[in-house]
C-alpha cells in the first residue's frame, strides 16, 4: 500500500530524513518511535504534503501513485489522513461546516454524490458512536477553545468520518491525560480493519499499550535503524535509545 524507498529530505538546509525505507501493507499497524529531532514529524508532513517539506531524493508510492507529486488535497482524497500533533484552531470556520466540506470534497473526488445536510447529520450521529466527542464541539469553530484532549478527539472523529486507507497519527498521545488517551485509543481501535493501515508516530511506548502495533520501528537521524514487533517498544521503554545508538553506530 505504502512504499517508501531511500527517502531523503532537507528542511532549512539540514538533512532531516536520510535514506528512509518503509513498507506498509493493508491492515497493518506500524509504530514509529524516535527521540526528539529524529525526523518523526517531518516524515508525517512529507507524507501528507505540507508546503516546505520536499523530498530531495528517493520515492514514496501509495496505492501505485507517486505520492510526492500530489497536492495535500489529492493525497487526502486518495486516502491518506494525518492526525496532527498540534491541530490548528481556525476561528470563524464552523467545525460542522468544515467537516461537511471535507467529506463532500472527498466524495466529489471519488465521483460520489455529495451528502446533503440531513444525510451528513446521519453520518455524524453514526460516527459519534465510535468516537466519544461532545456534540456541542461540532457547532463551535474548528478546534477553537478546545482542550488538548478535545482537539485530539476531534482529529479521530475526522478520521472516522473520512474513512482513510492510511492514517498517520503524529504524536496523538502528546498532552493527553490517561482518560483522554484511552478514549482516543478506543476510537482508533474501533477504526482498525483489514483494509485500513495505521502509522502511529510517538515518543513514548505508553500509547502502544492501547493501540497494539504489528511492527515497531526506531527512527534515528532520519532513518529507520531497527525494526521489530511490539516487544521492541517495551525494550526501548526500559532501556532508552542509547543501546540502539551503540548497536547501530548511529547517534542522535
Amino acid at each position: 500500500m505504502l512504499k517508501i524507498e531511500n527517502l531523503e529530505a532537507n528542511i532549512g538546509g539540514k538533512k532531516i530524513i536520510n535514506g528512509l525505507n518503509l513498507t506498509v501493507n493493508p491492515g497493518e499497524v506500524h509504530a514509529i518511535l524516535g527521540p526528539n529531532g529524529s525526523g518523526k514529524s517531518t516524515l508525517s508532513y512529507l507524507l501528507s504534503g505540507r508546503e516546505g517539506y520536499q523530498a530531495t531524493s528517493g520515492s514514496a508510492t501509495f496505492l501505485g501513485q507517486n505520492l510526492l507529486e500530489m497536492s495535500p488535497e489529492e493525497r487526502a482524497c486518495a486516502g491518506i489522513f494525518l492526525a496532527f500533533q498540534y491541530p490548528v484552531a481556525i476561528p470563524g470556520v464552523n467545525n460542522m461546516y468544515f467537516l461537511k466540506t471535507a467529506v463532500n470534497a472527498q466524495r466529489k473526488a471519488k465521483g460520489l454524490e455529495e451528502l446533503d445536510a440531513v444525510d451528513f447529520m446521519k453520518l455524524v450521529d453514526e460516527k459519534l458512536k465510535i468516537v466519544d466527542l461532545k456534540k456541542d464541539l461540532l457547532s463551535r469553530a474548528v478546534n477553537y477553545g478546545f482542550s488538548g484532549g478535545e482537539k485530539k478527539r476531534n482529529e479521530i472523529f475526522q478520521m472516522a468520518l473520512l474513512e482513510p486507507t492510511l492514517a498517520i497519527l503524529d504524536e496523538t498521545d502528546s498532552g493527553l491525560d490517561i482518560d483522554a488517551l484511552k478514549a482516543v485509543a478506543a476510537g482508533v481501535n474501533a477504526l482498525r480493519s483489514a483494509e485500513r493501515s495505521i502509522i502511529v508516530i510517538t515518543h513514548y511506548q505508553r500509547l502502544l499499550d492501547y493501540i497494539q502495533p504489528d511492527f515497531v520501528h526506531v527512527l534515528l537521524k532520519g532513518q529507520i535503524v531497527k525494526s521489530g514487533d511490539k516487544s521492541l517498544a517495551l525494550e526501548l521503554e526500559e532501556k532508552g535509545y542509547n543501546w540502539i545508538e551503540e548497536e547501530t553506530g548511529i547517534s542522535r
Binding site: R50, S71, P72, R75, V88, G92, T101, A105, Q106, V142
Partner: protein, 451 residues
C-alpha cells in the same frame, strides 16, 4: 478665515457647472442660495485635498476628479426598476426611500408603510413643504465644511433623505436609504445630503446603501449623512457601498450624540474604483456609546479608504472602531483611525482595531492609528495587523481533502465573519454573506496556486 480664490484647475472646472446650477435654482429661498455660494467660495479657498494633506495621503484625488462630471438630468428609472427586481436590493416590509443618480424616485420608494412617529421624505419634498425645517437642519453643519469634497457637496446638494423619529418612538421596521447610481450615459456627479434626527429616547434602524447599476459606469457620488441623536436615543446603522467599479465615492457620516445615546454601525465597502468612507463621532453630552465596525474588500487596482475619527469631548463616553480589510490583486486598503480625547474629559473608554488580509503580493494595506490624548482618565487601546492567510490553517483544511481555492475562500470568509456577524438585520446579513462569498470565491480563484 481669509477667502482666497484658487486657480486650481480641479476646482475651476466646476465653475460653469455651478453657475448654470444656480441659474436653474431661481425659485430656491435666498438663504439656500447664500449657503451654496458660501460653500462654493469655501471650495475655491480650500481647493481639493492632495497627498500633502495627511488625511488624504494615500487617496488618488486627481484620479477621482479627472472626469468632466455633469449634473444628472431627469432621472431614468427604467434601468433602476430592473435592478430593483433583483432581490439583493429588496427587504420585504422595510420603509424604503430611493434615489436614482441622486434624484428622489417616488415610483420605486416604499413610504406608505411609515409608522406613527416617523418621518421619511426627500430633501426636495422637505424644501417644498417645510423649508424652515431644512434650513434649521442643514444649517447646523456649515462650519464643518473643512475640505473640498464637503464644500462641493454643500454647493451642489439638492436632494437626499430626511428621516426624523419623534420622542420615545421605537421604530421596528428598518428604514432603507437606497442610492442607485450610474444610470446615466454621462459621467454624472451627485451630492446627496441625508439627515437622520432622533428626538429624546427614540430608536431606529437605518440601512444606507449606495449601489452601482452598471458596473462600467463612471460617476462621482459625494454624500454627507448627518446623524443627530438626542438624549437616550439609539441608532443601528448599516452602510453598504457597492458602487460601480468604475465610479468614485466619497461618503461622509457625521454622528452627533447627546447624553446616554448609542450609535452602532457596520460599514461594508466593496465597490468603486476609489472609495472613501469617513465617519466622525462627537458628543454633546456624557455617557454616550459609539461603535463603528467596517469591512472593506477590494480587488483589481481599486482603492478603499476609511477615515474614522472618534472625538471625545464629554465625560464617560465610549467608542469602538473595529475595521477589517481584504485586498487582492493590486488593490489598496487604507485605514486612518483617530481617537482624540480632549483635556479634562473624564472616563473615556476608546478602542480601535484594524486587521488586514493581503491575498496577493501586489496588494497594499495602509493602516494609520492616530491617538491624540490630552487627558489622564482614559482607557484606550489600539492594534493593527497586516497579514496573509495562515499557512498552517490552509494546510490543515487541504489535508482533509478541501481544494486549495476552496480552503482559501473558507479562511477569507472566516476573516470577514466577525464584522458581518455584527449586522443585526437578518436579511441584510444574509445578502451580504452571499455577496461576500461570491466576491471571495472570485478573489481566491484568481490567486496563483503555488506548486
Amino acid at each position: 478665515m481669509t477667502q482666497t480664490t484658487t486657480s486650481e484647475p480641479k476646482v475651476l472646472k466646476f465653475q460653469d457647472c455651478f453657475d448654470n446650477f444656480l441659474a436653474s435654482k431661481k425659485t430656491e429661498p435666498s438663504w439656500l442660495k447664500k449657503r451654496r455660494e458660501a460653500a462654493f467660495a469655501q471650495l475655491k479657498a480650500l481647493g481639493f485635498p492632495d497627498r500633502k494633506n495627511e488625511a488624504w495621503k494615500y487617496t488618488p484625488v486627481t484620479k477621482m476628479l479627472a472626469p468632466n462630471y455633469v449634473l444628472p438630468h431627469a432621472p431614468d428609472s427604467s434601468g433602476a426598476e430592473a435592478v430593483l427586481g433583483k432581490s439583493v436590493y429588496w427587504d420585504e416590509g422595510a420603509v424604503r426611500i430611493v434615489f436614482i443618480d441622486g434624484v428622489f424616485c417616488p415610483q420605486i420608494s416604499v413610504l406608505d408603510n411609515v409608522p406613527e412617529g416617523l418621518t421619511v421624505c426627500s430633501m426636495s419634498d422637505l424644501l417644498a413643504k417645510d423649508a424652515s425645517r431644512l434650513e434649521e437642519a442643514e444649517g447646523r453643519h456649515v462650519e464643518h465644511l473643512n475640505d473640498g469634497f464637503r464644500a462641493l457637496n454643500s454647493a451642489f446638494s439638492d436632494d437626499g433623505a430626511f428621516i426624523e423619529v419623534k420622542a420615545s418612538q421605537h421604530i421596528d421596521v428598518p428604514i432603507h436609504i437606497l442610492y442607485l447610481n450610474g444610470c446615466s450615459d454621462h459621467d454624472v456627479m451627485c451630492h446627496p445630503r441625508n439627515i437622520v434626527a432622533l428626538e429624546q429616547g427614540a430608536q431606529c434602524t437605518i440601512v444606507e446603501r449606495y449601489a452601482g447599476i452598471n458596473d462600467q459606469a463612471c460617476y462621482l457620488l459625494n454624500s454627507m449623512t448627518e446623524f443627530w441623536l438626542a438624549g437616550d436615543s439609539q441608532v443601528e446603522h448599516c452602510r453598504i457601498q457597492l458602487e460601480s467599479e468604475g465610479a468614485f465615492h466619497v461618503g461622509v457620516s457625521e454622528v452627533h450624540q447627546e447624553t446616554n445615546s448609542s450609535f452602532k454601525s457596520v460599514s461594508v465597502v466593496s465597490g468603486a474604483k476609489v472609495g472613501r468612507t469617513e465617519m466622525f463621532m462627537e458628543q454633546g453630552g456624557p455617557h454616550t456609546h459609539c461603535e463603528v465596525n467596517g469591512l472593506y474588500v477590494v480587488d483589481g487596482d481599486r482603492v478603499a479608504d476609511q477615515f474614522i475619527v472618534a472625538h471625545h469631548t464629554q465625560d464617560a463616553s465610549r467608542s469602538e472602531q473595529f475595521f477589517k480589510g481584504i485586498m487582492s490583486d493590486k488593490s489598496v486598503g487604507i485605514f486612518n483611525g483617530a481617537i482624540i480625547a480632549e483635556e479634562g474629559v473624564k472616563g473615556t473608554d476608546a478602542h480601535q482595531t484594524n486587521k488586514n488580509l493581503l491575498l496577493s503580493d501586489d496588494a497594499t494595506a495602509e493602516t494609520r492609528p492616530q491617538l491624540e490624548i490630552y487627558c489622564d482618565d482614559i482607557a484606550c487601546s489600539h492594534g493593527a495587523t497586516v497579514g496573509q492567510l495562515d499557512q498552517e490553517s490552509l494546510f490543515y483544511l487541504q489535508s482533509r481533502g478541501i481544494p486549495e481555492v476552496e480552503a482559501r475562500g473558507m479562511l477569507t470568509r472566516a476573516f470577514a465573519g466577525d464584522v458581518v456577524e455584527k449586522i443585526t438585520i437578518p436579511k441584510i446579513k444574509e445578502q451580504l454573506e452571499t455577496f461576500l462569498s461570491e466576491r471571495v470565491a472570485k478573489h481566491s480563484s484568481s490567486v496563483e496556486i503555488g506548486s
